[in-house]
Structure formats: structure tokens, C-alpha cells
Symmetry: none
Subunit: 238 residues, 2 copies
Amino acid sequence: MELGKRIRVVLVQPKYSGNIGSVARAMKNFGFSDLTLVSPLAKIDGLARMYAVRAQELLDQVNVVDTIEEAIRDSDLVVGTTARGAVSRSNLLRSSYTPREVARIVSRIASRAAFLFGREDMGLRNDELESCDIVLRIPSSRIYPTLNVSTAVAIILYELYCTSTSGYVHRATSEAVSRIIFEADLLLGAAKYPPFRRKRAVRAIKNILGRSLPSPREASLLMGLFRKARVRLADQTP
Amino acid sequence: MELGKRIRVVLVQPKYSGNIGSVARAMKNFGFSDLTLVSPLAKIDGLARMYAVRAQELLDQVNVVDTIEEAIRDSDLVVGTTARGAVSRSNLLRSSYTPREVARIVSRIASRAAFLFGREDMGLRNDELESCDIVLRIPSSRIYPTLNVSTAVAIILYELYCTSTSGYVHRATSEAVSRIIFEADLLLGAAKYPPFRRKRAVRAIKNILGRSLPSPREASLLMGLFRKARVRLADQTP
């Protein structure tokens, strides 16, 4: 199932209709459409419509439920969002995840995930967060960490969107990357690296490739370099 | 100079005061404070104040100027933002950068950068974008790519904030990276790569390193590998 269809955005007791509209717009901007409101204090009114701009159909299709339980009933993974975190005594809250980390997790599984966003004034309560599988905190300034709810939704959906589109297609497979590392290791051997330094150098190459996500072309050029250098070294070694 | 002080957010002819307030809030959420308006069509009114919530001082300190030229006068790097891109005939627009790429670029330089955001209805004109150093496009759905301006500001500042707080300190200098590339090139020469393939392989290594931002330790291990392999090859070549 494509990403856009398996993510649900859940607003818990939203107070301002403008925020509901802004959330709908941000969702459509990144290809999401499942918006659920838990006992909303605001209506889908003219202001909501104004802020939704070209995402009117999301407002038409919005689900309204009474409890969080109903909103997450068919979700395999429940992500709670909070601006608190570092200072909490709760283990779950202290070990919150960043949007990028959650995007990686969600992109790897094929299940349905619900993202819970709290009330404009007080967010999600601790007991609500404790009942989530993952707590997500958007890195932000300690001085003023509380984002507008539609901003928070946008940043998280942006990360999900980037993770799902970036690089899936144009990245070398992990097998190709493993072959580069294998060839680099052989070259280090041929260059007579002492075992300890050889191990560290392989580790460094592995880390660099892990972060840079090489394209298939880059991977083949790099592997070619390591192999060619090694073969020439081996040829010439008496 | 810390990141928060060297980034300027420039809104070109903003039309809605609520957006100005929302932008101020998003700026403070990520530790930025320099907000400049170019011939605004809206005033800092009660609505702006309401949307700024706890970022009132940014509205008090806002700069208002008449032209983009005045807004960017003391900036070393000017980044224009657009929702258009892929379809443009302009080279600059077609090769737009993502927020993450721009964040990496900005985190590496110590200069002042201005980020230009266009009018709510039509964005920045092509000639305005052409006069920027970098064009930034937030990856988004083809069906509805136009983000609210405060959402766009928030996503870009979020990326800048994440890049500046994660691992800024532990990166190899660009000189160290250049030395790796230099050594890789020498190794390719020693391995008797034909000039055309050598050039492409150097390019691939450069791109990979550019994206992976190696640590000083990784850089020195990688340079050591290239140099050692090359020296051994040269030694053994009759």
C-alpha cells in the first residue's frame, strides 16, 4: 500500500477551525488524505475552508470520532507527538524520536500508522503519550519549542514524503555497497595494511557510504577503482 | 557567528498579516530572529500578533524595506524559494536544491544567508529567482505543491536547525576533503585509468564525500588508504 494511503493524521480536540484547514492543506501538499478529528471543539467552517485552500476534499472526507481509541483502532503503529520531552521523568518521553527517525521506521514497514497531534494549548496528556508505540518530538528551540499544530503536521509529513521518494529509486543496493566495502578491504590487504588499521579504514568507508547513499553509477565507479588498484597491486607483487 | 544570527528570512510583498505572525512564530521555534519584509501589503496588526503567539519581539524588531536589493544587501548567499521547478525551461530552476541540501551548504559556510519567500498568490517571479545564488524547492506533491508561506519557512528553518545541531563540529574541513580527492585522483593515475574514466571516478568520489560529510578521522583513514595504495603501486611499477 502506498505511503499516502496508510498514514492517518489524528487531531485530538482541535480548538481552532483555521488549524484544521491548515492541516488539510499541508496533508495534500505531501500526498496524504486521511484526516481524523477526536471530539473536535471547532467546526469545519468558512475559516477552515479558507485555510485549506485547494484541499477542500480532505475536509469533506474528514472522520470525526469520540475517542483516541476509535481513531487508532485499525492502525498498526501509533505515533504520539509532543513538544515536551527531555525533562520528563517518563522513559518513553525521554527517549523520543525525531521526525526523520520515525520516517525511516515507517518507510520500512508496510503497516498503517496513525500520528496523534494534541490540543493547541496543552498537547497530548502524558497518559495519552504513554499509550502510543512511539513518541515523536520535533527538534526545536528550548526557548520556544511549541509549534503550531499545522506546522508540526507539515514537518512530519514532509519527512515522510522525502523518505518515501528520495532515493528509493536511484540508490545503490545494499549488496552493491557491501561489494564496495569488500573490494576496499581486499585493496587494504594488498596494500599491506596492518590488521588493526585495516579494520578501522573499512569501518570508515562503511560509515561514509552509509551516510552518502551512493547512486548505482557512483557505486560501480568506486568499486571499479578499488578493484583495479588491487588487481594491479597483486599483479606487480612478486 | 551562530546560525540563528546569520540567517535572514525575507518575505516579499506578504499579503496576509496572519502569515507574517505565523512566520515569526516558526522562526522563534527554531531559534531565528531576523525577519525582513519587502514592500508588505499587510500590516503588523492584531491578527499577526495572534498568530505570532510567543514570538511578539520578532514582530517588534521586523525590518521593512522597499526592494529585494535592500533586503539582501549584506547577505553573502541569497536563496530563493519556489514551488515551481521541474517543468521550467530555466537551468537554475530545473536544478533546484532541497532544504536539506541547502542546510548542508549553509552549515559549512560562516557567511550570512538570506532566504527569500514570494507572494502568497504567485511566489517569486522568474527574474527574481534568477538573481538568487541558489533556488530551493521543497519536495512536495505534484498535485498540490504550493505550501503556505509559514509552512515553507518552518520546514526550511527546521532543516537548518537539525543540520546545525547534529554533528556540525565533527566534520572534516573542506581542505581535508580536497586532499582525499587529490589522492584518489593520483591513485587512479597510478592504476592507469584512461583519462575519461578517471575523471568520472573522481567526480563520483567527490559527490559521495560531499554528501556524507566525513569526520576528520574518517577523512584521514580514507586519504591514508588512497595514498598508501598509490605509493605501493608506484614503488612496484618498473
